[in-house]
Symmetry: C2
Subunit: 600 residues, 2 copies
């Protein structure tokens, strides 16, 4: 066995959706060395998670792969509830449009986890600066506590065993940071002795991806079928597949309630489904994947060790898959720590940024568990009550769209009160994610959406809601802001300022705007993707961005937006001092201590 040594800025353990999300946060990061390891030999081939909420697709948009994933996915348009019909069968009781009007787009799509991973992994290969090592797993991990606060150190040492190409090989990896996305049975979590708090529920569930042959009329919709024999949840999938979740302990299923996970066979699962769907026919053609599990509802006590090793995704929270939140929450976790590590390492800003990861994400996991518990209880209730279900469904929106999530004030989320601003964007707030509105490019008239534009580059951005700049007074205010921005940009050249004005597009000439709003580059000229308008497009309607954000076109505002789309601060066009102060707080580590001697 050879003894190889590697040094990386970030080591990511696990190449599932969470690990690959964290890795994609480093796309285009020059100079940082990022490595992903996974014990599997490739992306997953079948099964596992399959639901992508709009917020996850927006994350994929910022990686440049959202539309490719959408092209392959099955959209979900309706949720249908069935209940016992009192004659031994079931009857449709309610059809709910799967629609959140505020989103103005589908809330949910489904696709095989392996395909989602495929797009994420391919994107890393295309961008070229992140390496994935398959068939490689950690066998030891040590943190050198003396070096924790040393900005140049590689305090984490991970020994990994690789079986790539059939040759066993031990490698020692020195990492500045580690992100562990190694799943519900996380090696890293166990190795670090981080407890999971919570319970295994009593329920055993069968889960199956199959092509059903049935005359059940709602098989291509999300449906929850509650019969006297038990409960099934079905989710339509790409091609002709359907994902089924089946409670294996219904009151008098044909299969015995005593069955446990390991004794279950796929025939038990199919039989249970058939008995629940009765009197509709139910057979399965191809079974692509199936599994059985007991639901654990648990959250890790810590999401990080010393802010040098971070855990994300299933490694720190497990719950039922039925609310479709596992992969989505994991992606959000990884996106959160991913950009923070990149920003910290690239900008050399203080490590205190990193403490916000656990502060922001652990409460979300806890809320999710509580929600999941209620959701499961609803499921377990043989007399499913519609009002209750609808209420739970509406609560689910909170997680699924990100609309209801609000992070607490911190180094990177200004307190609304401290801002002393008065409310200039009634539908926005620091700590909340911006809606994905459509806007029209000033230069070419092509509409895009916010998150298609905000490609992940690890940077904060200033969104300038300048209002109707065809009005002289507002244009003068915009020019004045431009003077400040010119000074600011000298010191913060990487921070993009993006104008979203609300004048008629044809009333504005891009070349009449000050250069700072459409910066020059000696290599390729002006930047045509910095100025947008909230105007009618030729082919795709009006985005109503101002209306959706609650911004008055005469007042306008500035929104400082984090790399992950959450607002850091919102202020008036004149209150630039707030932005200056914000970046003071994030100032780089004193460059005096930087030398090129790394300490291991």
């Amino acid at each position: 066995m050879s003894n190889i040594v590697d040094k990386v800025d970030v080591l990511i353990i696990g190449a599932g959706p969470a690990g690959l999300t964290a890795a994609n946060c480093f796309n285009g990061s020059n100079g940082l060395r990022v490595r992903v390891i996974d014990k599997k030999s490739s992306t997953v081939q079948t099964g596992k998670a399959d639901g992508l909420k709009s917020i996850s697709l927006e994350v994929l948009d910022t990686f440049g792969i959202g539309d490719a994933v959408r092209n392959e996915s099955q959209r979900v348009e309706e949720v249908v509830l069935w209940e016992p019909n009192g004659q031994g069968g079931v009857a449709r009781s309610m059809t709910i449009p799967d629609r959140v009007p505020e989103l103005r787009k589908p809330r949910e799509m489904t696709l095989d986890q392996g395909r989602i991973e495929h797009h994420m992994a391919t994107n890393l290969i295309r961008k070229g600066n992140v390496q994935i090592s398959w068939e490689t797993q950690p066998v030891d991990l040590q943190i050198n506590h003396q070096l924790i606060e040393d900005p140049l150190a590689y305090p984490v040492t991970v020994v990994v065993r690789s079986m790539a190409n059939g040759n066993a090989c031990i490698e020692t990896i020195h990492a500045r940071y580690v992100v562990a996305c190694d799943g519900a049975r996380s090696w890293t979590r166990k190795h670090l002795n981080i407890p999971l708090t919570g319970d295994l529920t009593d329920s055993t569930w069968g889960v199956m991806d199959a092509v059903p042959k049935t005359n059940f009329p709602d098989i291509r919709k999300v449906c929850v079928v509650h019969s006297a024999k038990g409960t099934v949840m079905a989710v339509p999938r790409e091609k002709k597949m359907v994902r089924f979740y089946i409670a294996m302990d219904g009151p008098d299923l044909d299969v015995t309630a005593a069955l446990n996970e390991s004794a279950l066979t796929v025939d038990h699962v199919v039989d249970a489904a058939r008995s629940i769907f009765h009197p509709y026919t139910f057979e399965v053609g191809e079974v692509i994947w199936w599994s059985a599990y007991q639901v654990g509802q648990r959250v890790a006590d810590e999401f990080s060790k010393e802010d040098r090793v971070f855990l994300a995704g299933d490694a720190v929270h497990t719950h039922s898959p039925k609310a479709g939140q596992g992969m989505n929450t994991s992606i959000q976790d990884a996106y959160n720590i991913g950009w923070k590590l990149r920003f910290h390492l690239e900008q050399r800003c203080s490590r205190s940024l990193l403490t916000s990861y656990e502060q922001e994400r652990r409460p979300i996991a806890q809320q999710l568990i509580n929600f999941d518990r209620e959701y499961l209880e609803l499921f377990a209730n043989p007399n499913l009550e519609f009002e209750g279900f609808l209420a739970a469904y509406k609560t689910a929106m909170k997680f699924t769209t990100g609309i209801g999530i609000q992070y607490d004030p911190s180094l990177i989320v200004e307190s609304p009160v401290l801002g002393k601003t008065g409310i200039v964007a009634t539908a926005l707030s620091p700590g909340m994610r911006l809606p994905d509105f459509q806007m029209v490019n000033q230069a070419d008239g092509v509409p895009t959406t916010l998150y298609h534009r905000l490609l992940m580059n690890g940077q904060f951005r200033i969104l300038i809601f300048a209002g109707d700049i065809s009005k002289q007074q507002l244009f003068r205010r915009y020019l004045k802001f431009g003077e400040w921005l010119t000074r600011f940009s000298h010191k913060n050249e990487k921070i993009e300022a993006i104008t979203i004005h609300s004048a008629e597009r044809t009333s504005i000439e891009l070349m009449d705007l000050p250069e700072v709003f459409r910066p020059w580059n000696d290599e390729d000229g002006w930047d045509y993707w910095r100025v947008y308008t909230d105007d009618e497009s030729y082919h795709d309607g009006h985005g109503k961005a101002y209306q959706r954000c609650g911004i008055d076109a005469d007042t306008g505002c500035l929104v400082l937006i984090r790399p992950d789309g959450y607002a850091s601060l919102i202020c008036k066009m004149e209150e630039t001092i707030q932005i200056t102060n914000f970046f003071e707080g994030l100032r780089p580590i004193d460059s005096g201590v930087i030398t090129h001697t790394a300490r291991l």
Copy 2:
């Protein structure tokens, strides 16, 4: 040199957009052997064509790759005209939205030809039944005239030379049919002594893909800039590229008018552009590709030899690239002959189908040349007149959207008069292509568009505009049609019947419709993609399909649609005899003559 022999049903010469389109028509065709050869070593890397009209994107939709191409493309939203300002510079005179309201989507996108080819070639590899041989070119082609009408023969013998992997190799390919898509300098056309009729114009043009550095305000729009110094046309492209067409013989350009194609350098082209854009600055960053050419406006006298060798695309028509019609017309040519060959070979229908290729496509090429001549004259006119330009622009729509194209009656296009139908679809006609309307799937509520649904499978389809089948009378009529369809489907099992009703989606249950409208398959159950409604979708508005087709919801109609989206016949729901008669005319070759001895 080895002497290899191969036998193929179809040999396609040339793997450009035309050849790859023809090849993609055979995707999923079991039992047919199709081969593509090309002397290049791969798809093109830079330059050449770049404009994709909506009709071409619809073709790509039927191959399943339209959205992938859209994702990479630059949309065109506006066309802007500039004219001399009388002071030695230029002034904007007119901005025309690049919009055809009937389309309800963008009319045009631009993308590097190589990327379009990439998606088409990758699709062939994914589908697996068409082989591409690069670095392989024809050196001889002979047609055995005695075997022309023999349904089992391989009457075309093509000798090819391959240089793949550096080894020269001669191969003899026996083909039932050959499609030559080998470009403007077509080896096949010359070898078969088919004359091109028409002229080379006097104009020499420079064409260039570059990243411009300019303060010209419309550089991200399609613009035609007519200065006292000459004319430039600029087309925005993906990334930061712009395609420039520059007349190299303007009245007093800094470069001499005497310059000919071979003496031209890229600096001449850039200098000419700079002098036309004056007083705006104009420099170029990266020049990705450039070329010079004289415009030839010529059409081949024949598009086929004996209906055994067909020529398509630039091999049979050349014209200026400025109307953006070269690649688009080539794709339509190849799509036309591609499906006809597949249908003939798979269904063993008579060869007379194949004569319709030249009948349909040669007049289009001729119309295109005439249009191109007028378009070029407009360009050459130093006093560009807006009304004239606008008129030419509107004429261009005819080609660019396919809306204005109407093929003559033939074996596969019923005469509207012979139909004796009365008009049941006021906006449709036999020989015209259907608009790409949105429709909502009955089973899952997901909206799609017609051409996303009509994946190329080489088959005719029956579109059943059944009207509002929530009304008893119309439902009874639909049931009655279903009885006929059941009988018809026994004999024509491959022909899909697709219902597009106009009832509210929630008022209809798919499982209440007769089985023939949602056929059963023992392997994977019911077909959920046969019944659609012209109803409001949850997230994407209303497709207004009936309105766009001019179909009354009470009358309804049947549209027999060709594999390429053109209507063959349109009749009332009761006039099923017309469909029966149509397929009688296409009946297979008498199976009595079929043996398994192929004659070479």
